[in-house]
């Protein structure tokens, strides 16, 4: 099948691939130390206008420090941070065209919703008579017009989140920072709110930088994700790239579920064959990497790419094993298949039919396989 013509597709938003695009934010060799502890380690990063940029990582990885440096609450120990080409190192938080939505929302408990949103505007150079109109606009944006007179403790968690968002957007910042914005909401509300956030980001055209430890949230909302660990950027890419083509075991493991198998790669034609255990067939893997003969490497396979069969299929990368665990999630089931040598392969099947009898059951002998293109080859 021929590829569709590129002109038939809408122009994709990807300023990071355009060498002429000027970044809105630019970290240049930024290091931040707290005493002996290095929170951010010589970091280079460009964030572009209108991006929805996610900083993802485990707690203590430096993502919050990075955000607080953008807000102005922390100063870089070394290096510079540029906002539209200007070094903002010496600019205090109250003078930056950057606003932040706090994890705790930090709504002023003694002020009404209306006054919370007007708080920043009253401190800006906006003429007094224009403030009410702007507040009304913001209330409409987050659909909180009815609650303008309430105090923060009189509204629900989801409503507080909206007010916090409206307050941080009221001054029309060039950059909006969101610190775990949905962390306090329950799962269902969180999912709804993710789409609202995206909508609001598109409507206002503001650049968003979101800090989160929830990989699903980052995948849903972000145009690009930066995976961080120990103050370093491990990988910065769009959600599909970071999921389907992670560059390290750390990233593959951090985003989504994965089975990682260690072995030694040898090139056979345009494919690598990874021998990994005695008595098991080598795993065949297509990869753009160039590996030396017999180089030690990892094969990472996402469970949804693994097919599970009752009979041996005529295919590549076929392994036999026994089901030791089943996780039933409703829409899909995860099977843990243990091979003869003890290795567990995770396989996921969509439950497309409403049959209460499962296709496979515990202790059943099954075959698993995946195609050559589905496995990810990673250097050690």
């Amino acid at each position: 099948m021929p590829d569709p013509k590129p002109s038939a597709q809408p122009v994709e938003f990807a300023p990071w691939v355009d060498p002429k695009a000027a970044p809105l934010i630019s970290f240049r060799g930024v290091t931040k130390r707290f005493g002996d502890f290095t929170a951010i380690d010589n970091l280079y990063l460009d964030i572009f206008q209108r991006e929805f940029f996610a900083l993802l990582g485990p707690s203590g990885c430096g993502k919050t420090t990075l955000m607080r440096m953008l807000a102005g609450f922390e100063n870089a120990t070394e290096g510079t941070i540029l906002l539209e080409g200007q070094n903002i190192g010496a600019v205090p938080p109250n003078k930056r065209a950057v606003n932040m939505m706090f994890q705790s929302y930090a709504l002023f408990p003694h002020l009404t919703v209306w006054d919370n949103i007007a708080f920043g505007l009253k401190r800006s150079d906006m003429p007094k008579d224009q403030i009410p109109a702007r507040v009304e606009d913001m209330l409409r944006l987050v659909q909180m017009q009815k609650f303008a007179k309430r105090k923060p403790h009189q509204i629900s968690g989801g409503q507080r989140q909206r007010v916090a968002l409206a307050r941080s957007l009221a001054k029309a910042p060039k950059l909006l920072l969101l610190d775990e914005p949905l962390g306090a909401l329950d799962k269902k509300l969180r999912e709804e709110t993710q789409f609202e956030l995206m909508e609001i980001q598109e409507k206002t055209g503001t650049t968003f930088v979101i800090v989160t430890h929830d990989q699903e949230e980052a995948m849903t909302v972000a145009s690009r994700i930066a995976v961080m660990d120990h103050g370093k950027l491990i990988q910065v890419d769009t959600p599909p790239v970071i999921y389907e083509a992670p560059k390290s075991v750390y990233v593959a493991d951090f985003l989504g579920d994965v089975t990682v198998i260690e072995g030694r790669a040898n090139r056979v034609g345009d494919i690598y064959e990874v021998s990994w255990a005695e008595g098991q067939p080598p795993l065949r893997c297509a990869s753009p990497l160039t590996l030396a003969p017999d180089q030690s490497c990892f094969v990472a396979v996402r469970p949804e790419k693994v097919e599970i069969h009752a009979d041996r299929p005529e295919d590549e990368n076929v392994l036999q094993g026994k089901i030791v665990d089943i996780g039933y999630l409703g829409n899909l089931s995860t099977y843990h298949v243990q091979l003869a040598n003890g290795q567990i392969i995770k396989a996921q099947n969509f439950n497309t039919e409403r049959d209460t009898r499962r296709r496979f059951t515990w202790e059943e002998d099954v075959w698993v396989n995946w195609t050559v293109r589905c496995a990810i080859l990673l250097e050690r």
Partner: protein, 296 residues
Amino acid sequence: MRRLLLIAIPYAWLVALFLVPFLIVVKISLSDVQLSIPPYTPTLEFSAGWTGIRDFFSQLDFENFVFLTEDSLYWKAYLSSLQIALVSTALTLMVGYPIALAMANAEQAWRPTLMMLVILPFWTSFLIRVYAWMGILSTEGFLNQFLLWTGVISEPLTILNTRVAVYIGIVYTYLPFMILPIYATLEKLDVSLLEAAEDLGCTRRQAFWLVTAPLSKPGVIAGCFLVFIPAIGEFVIPSLLGGSQTLMIGKVLWEEFFSNRDWPVASAVAVVLLLILVIPIILFQRNEQRQREAEQ
């Protein structure tokens, strides 16, 4: 039934230790002075039966309260007590708030030590501490000697036996009652609120007045009442530090009881003082309740 019993205990306590003594004081305030033991009349004679009780009530009157309004000494004493209590409450707030703020902003490890330092003076006798102030403030006291030595003044200042000494004494004595409730509200204050204020364009100073100050209001109100209510009836500090010119109702009360031995008038003074204090006490309770509701 069990609930009723539980509630009955604090009520019994209040009735026995507050209401009954208060009613006795009210009764004395309605009696007449007499040279006897006890120094007032009438006393309740149960042996005379029903007529005795009727007799007893017919002899009670409001004479003493009328007397309070006739002699200017009393309302002057009330007014000056109110004034001294108000001024010293304001001064205590001005001294106490910065201390509470500094404590709340101190590093976590230091806070228990600072708290200890605030409470520590309570470990010595209140009277000894007030006497110590006499030693500091008198004309030959440490303060004057120090100021003369540094050359700030050439003549010793007269501080003892003036109102200034009373203010110093009250501020010193009641400072912990101001600091602790303010510290409690400031310590609970979420730091991210101040960061949010700064993020939205406030300077540090503006953030203090727009966020910290209004949010610490319950603590300020509680602290002010905890100082104001006892300060208004204060007796020891004005009599030891204030000299003879300082007129306070606590002192008048003392003199009526022990110098004049006019228990009925003294009781009337006490009842009026209590009525004056009931208003701020009710306001205080209301403030506490509102704070509890806001926290829920």
